[in-house]
């Protein structure tokens, strides 16, 4: 049933080449895939397999050397830098391996960062950010700066920050790589819960096989290519979406 819905993101023969000195590195060699609404996709692969590049391209953070990306049906190649930026602002939430919180800002302020320059009611944003932090289990850490939080807690703040703009696509690039197993597990469980409860379309990249156990769909990458794809439309998350 999922196949009938327009994909949140679709890629068509994506190539990405990088120049490293005199060498040309082929990070992606013709990747085509689509992610449908409500899916929780895990992209598995060792470092250098191209999974991070894939996430950057899907979220419009980088442009491909060749190929096309459709974000909610919109081809990204036709957009100017500022249109692409607006697209990210409205549709995409990013989570990074190293959390990337602003050290001088409190948890609440970090969560509100994506909306700080928008013409929005700050009291409403404050209410929303507080709710999100409570939701990720940090209701008691609202005024703490990152240096007073553990890695797991910092990543929870980063998740709340990615959600504040109500994105349609959540992209998590190696969100557990800097965490021990227990904290990593908790982060993946949180992302899974958010996917189930909010129907948030989520793509997680990882080299950790245990992360894949939570996914409705696992895509394996090696050397810039997809080597296996468990396929869409079978996960519990998508069933949930259908009944929602």
């Amino acid at each position: 049933m999922n196949e009938n819905q327009e994909p949140v993101v679709e890629t068509e023969d994506l190539w990405k080449l990088f120049k490293l000195g005199d060498e040309v590195v082929k990070a992606l060699k013709g990747v085509s895939l689509s992610v449908h609404p409500g899916e929780l996709v895990v992209i598995m692969g060792p470092s250098g397999s191209g999974k991070s590049t894939m996430l950057h391209l899907m979220g419009g953070l980088e442009r491909p050397t060749k190929g096309e990306i459709y974000l909610e049906g919109q081809p990204l190649s036709g957009l100017t830098e500022s249109q692409l930026s607006t697209m990210r602002h409205q549709a995409v939430g990013f989570i990074f391996q190293s959390y990337n919180l602003i050290p001088l800002l409190t948890a609440t302020e970090n969560v509100e960062l994506p909306l700080v320059f928008d013409d929005v009611d700050s009291a409403e944003v404050r209410k929303d950010s507080t709710e999100l932090l409570e939701r990720v289990g940090l209701g008691h850490r609202l005024d703490h700066t990152p240096s007073r939080m553990s890695g797991g807690e910092q990543q929870r703040v980063a998740i709340a920050r990615a959600l504040i703009g109500r994105p349609r696509l959540l992209l998590a690039d190696e969100p557990t790589a800097n965490l021990d197993h227990k904290n990593g597990e908790a982060i993946v469980e949180l992302l899974t819960t958010l996917n189930h409860e909010m129907g948030m379309t989520t793509v997680i990249s990882t080299h950790d096989r245990s992360v894949a156990e939570h996914a409705s769909r696992v895509i394996e990458m090696r050397d810039g290519k997809v080597i296996s794809d468990s396929g869409s439309g079978q996960g519990s998350a998508t069933d949930n979406l259908a009944t929602a």
Binding site: L61, E62, S85, R88, F96, N100, L104, D118, G165
Partner: protein
Amino acid sequence: MIRPLKYSLRMISRARGSALLRSGAVAVAAALTFFVLAQSSTVRAQATDLAVGGIGVDTIERATLSLTVIAVIVGALQVGVLMTRVVLQRMQEIGVLKAAGISSRDIFLVFLFESLIYGFVGGVIGCLVGLLIALFGPMPGGDEILRAFLITVALSTIVATLAGLAPARRAVRAPAVEAINHAW
């Protein structure tokens, strides 16, 4: 305009110690400017009265002008260097802002406003320091002090803002992915 300005003010107020040091760097140049400007008329008056060693009024004027120019150049270089460092230090933040789809204009303004604020605050501090120094010499009149104060603060703010243009542009031009992974 108002939201980037509020963000700049928040980041500066949180940086506390280092923000004060940065203002201090600007204040040194501003103090020199203020002192020269405030004293110039006093010195000129004395020189005319005494006709010391045949020093002409325009010699003094020229000396005043060159000292001011030197102070302005020193101040501009200070701001350019320190804002470049601020931008590099905050590459990850810039990356996050870009990933979140914050417009280039807003990112540019955030850093430009910081330069402007350091110029303004440094200018005011510089004038106070310059006034302290002036206490040891012949005291200039109230009019001279006010005039020197206004010129110094205006000059310091304008020069700092201009010197902040290049670092702010650097912040905007940083590729998002590199900025996010930037290790300092």
